[in-house]
Symmetry: C2
Subunit: 484 residues, 2 copies
């Protein structure tokens, strides 16, 4: 994540106006100062004044009315109740094979068959938020500078420069890893496959957060592993007490997979004290700790939080990450640092897919070595924050009474709890018929309660079409309440 820098002028001014609105100095419904007076008042250019108004708009503190300028408004998300914490001492479900393969195939097939106009079921920003032009330029340059890119076999571990950039950036998260400890993979998903194959064998039990990323449940099932779901807080992530209980109840947990920052789907962030306790617990219990670090760079806070891996003293943490969500969804740039399983993971990588192609590593390595990368990340985080807030507000406004939601401190998505008696499977079916795709809760857990939840992507720019779709989703959710 970025080192601390002064935000641009329009951002500073936006914070000022937001304060004025929160303090009541500017009332909802009143007209904002005109562009002209903003220019005069703050001695700024037209384009800065415009950026200021657009920022207020995308954050939900102003709205544009045709031909009459910007009007003050007040986001309404505060109306909505927060979700429950998981029950302390909750007994985990017995370890089970996942049985999610068929469900996911069915989900994918139905989504593919439908005419989806608005896909809110993914976890990704819109293409325009990624620095496509710069990366293409960097890759074009690399094609010119490295004539052997297509005709020679690159190193199994990946491009040395790319790996050194990764190792450098890891310092900010408290990790001390050498470039040679980094193995480039086809996305984080291959890293997770390799990590699990390295530490476990078919039939073993793997603890996971509940709810969790359905891709992980698929991986477990396809490898013949059992998933043991550990209750997880929408605020502070994995419950360490619940994990301790699970260890006492089922002694044979081989590994644990955790997303400590901006967990998918919850958006939770583990406090440092929890992270350290977790690392020590896994160490003591001989549970391999697989850290999925896909989303950290999307955290709003300044400064990079410490990775689990930063507390690792024994090589028990396997750290996995990827550029997929933060830099380039079209590239398959992931990596793994596998602690004491490094050699085994390298051999499995060789056996499974050989080396990665190298061009995207050359391009991304070049781009990431410049200030442009941090500037891109700041822009992306700002855009996502605005979109998350607008989406949260729309859900608070349009969804039925009793809907609950937390506003995560970063990332791409919102996790929404529907009122008692409401099934996200029903909402999914109804919405898909109208061309809107959402991710129903049963994708994220085998737990029956998961049907009350759904996940909404906040990667699209907020506009009228999106607003209308969210309103419609609210109506469909209302219709889906079974009155017992």
């Amino acid at each position: 994540m970025s080192t601390t820098t002064t935000p641009p002028l329009y951002r500073q001014l936006a914070t000022h106006y937001r304060g004025a609105i929160e303090a009541g100095a500017l009332q909802p419904g009143t007209r904002m100062p005109s562009l002209r007076s903003l220019m005069r008042l703050h001695d700024i250019s037209l384009s800065t004044a415009l950026q200021l108004c657009r920022t207020l708009e995308s954050d939900g503190w102003a709205e544009a009315r045709e031909r009459s300028g910007y009007f003050v408004r007040r986001p309404q998300r505060l109306r909505m109740a927060q979700m429950d914490e998981p029950l302390a001492g909750l007994r985990p479900d017995p370890a089970q094979y996942v049985g999610i393969h068929g469900q996911v195939s069915d989900f994918v097939a139905r989504r593919r068959a439908a005419k989806v106009k608005l896909n809110l079921s993914i976890a990704r920003a819109a293409p325009q938020f990624y620095p496509a032009e710069e990366l293409r330029a960097a890759m074009t340059r690399a094609l010119r500078l490295w004539p052997d890119v297509v005709s020679s076999v690159p190193p199994l571990q990946g491009d040395p420069h790319f790996r050194s950039v990764i190792a450098q950036r890891a310092v900010a998260a408290g990790m001390a890893i050498a470039p040679d400890d980094v193995l480039v993979t086809n996305g984080c998903i291959e890293a997770l496959n390799l990590a699990l194959r390295a530490v476990a064998k078919p039939g073993d039990t793997i603890a996971v957060e509940s709810p969790t990323f359905y891709g992980l449940l698929q991986v477990l099932e396809s490898l013949g592993l059992r998933a043991l779901e550990i209750p997880t807080s929408p605020q502070t992530g994995l419950s360490i007490e619940a994990l301790e209980l699970a260890v006492q109840t089922y002694g044979d947990i081989q590994a644990l997979v955790v997303v400590p920052h901006l967990q998918n789907p919850l958006g939770s962030v583990m406090p440092d004290a929890h992270k350290e306790r977790l690392v020590r617990l896994c160490e003591a219990q001989g549970i391999a700790l697989i850290e999925d670090d896909t989303y950290t760079e999307l955290l709003d806070a300044e400064g990079t939080p410490r990775a689990l891996k930063s507390w690792d003293r024994t090589g028990n943490v396997l750290h996995c990450a990827s550029m997929h969500k933060i830099l380039a969804p079209g590239l398959r740039l992931g990596w793994i640092t596998a602690g004491r399983w490094q050699a085994r993971v390298e051999m499995l990588k060789y056996t499974q897919t050989r080396n990665n192609e190298i061009l995207s590593q050359l391009g991304a390595g070049q781009f990431m070595g410049t200030g442009a990368y941090d500037r891109h990340l700041r822009r992306l985080r700002t855009a996502l924050r605005g979109q998350r807030e607008r989406t949260a507000e729309a859900i608070a406004t349009y969804f039925p009474e009793g809907t609950r939601m937390n506003l995560p401190p970063g990332g791409l998505q919102l996790w929404v709890e529907l009122p008692e008696g409401c099934s996200s499977a029903v909402v999914f079916d109804a919405a898909l018929q109208e061309g809107i795709a959402i991710a129903p809760g049963w994708l994220f857990s085998n737990n029956a309660r998961s049907d009350r939840f759904l996940r909404i992507n906040c990667g699209w720019p907020y506009d009228d079409g999106l607003d209308t779709a969210l309103r419609r989703l609210g109506t469909l959710a209302g219709n889906a309440i079974r009155v017992g």
Copy 2:
């Protein structure tokens, strides 16, 4: 493979001179006509005359002597005895876990630790034989034309145009597959992983050729599968009788992996009648047939031989292939057509690595859609044939009495049988100390006899350094004979 076209003029002339030498009209040791007289005699340009002489030289029918021009010579490979056929009715070894992981790691580690000056242990042509410039130009163009290459997620199955080129070219091999039947993978190795994971589960028995590609043995072991080695002829490939016997002896063979054309390491090519019988046998016995089609395009013969898949009526054949050896060793362009396991293979691909990056598909697809691709393949085959013949000749000349070898009709390598009492493991160690890497026989089979064999890459241009290295290898092989 190419459709029949007239070979270029210098090739026609080379064939003419080769005939003259074989007929004795030109005697070894005599001077070839000078470039000037060749130009006059055949009414050709200087560059054609030069190409003619270089072709004769690289095929072993002439040698350049400094400042005195080209001299006629005669390849000596005919001296060498052919290898034995596998014994008919040979009883296969009982199915076993492979136990090759450690061996291969050890091999790789030792090769990496040594200062390798000449790597003859790979199966790949030198970089200059691949159309790097054209492919880089095509990829640069694609970066310009497809602005979304890095910012959007491409289809899971791969680029539609690339897949349609693959489907089109499959017609020549007798396969009728739609572009949608083609799933792009990270090389043939991922295709093989997916095929095996789709048809078998840990503990199952998979029949393989003996000897076979060590990468396959690694894959089997890493997936917890048992390898059952089936005797294979250096001429006609897998012994169907031996497979039938294995089926009778061990009823439970889940799948068979076969390289029908230019088998690695043997270089054998299955006759059509064998292929058809094999497809029918597997169909009748419920054995999934995994076809590895990595090398077909490197066959010298005009016209493409039929794929096993072309006889498939029930979706029982999973066809895997790749561009790695024939177009671009730096790219990871493989694919699979999985018959009735297509949906399962697609889901496993999604779970294991998601979609491939798309740029190399765009570039390769463009290049393969032009005549330049067939011209490249012809040039590559010609170069490889010359290098194989020169290498074979050197082995015939330098290796100890009792060495045996077949000359395969195409491809990248020679499989050499050392005399009784000679260990390729000993030769490997001794050669590595001098900076020469070869592939020792024990990489290719668990059978104890395999230590008598070694595999030599013919992908490097033949020059004095290579000649010296082969002579040295011959000496080391002689030293390695244990006089019992």
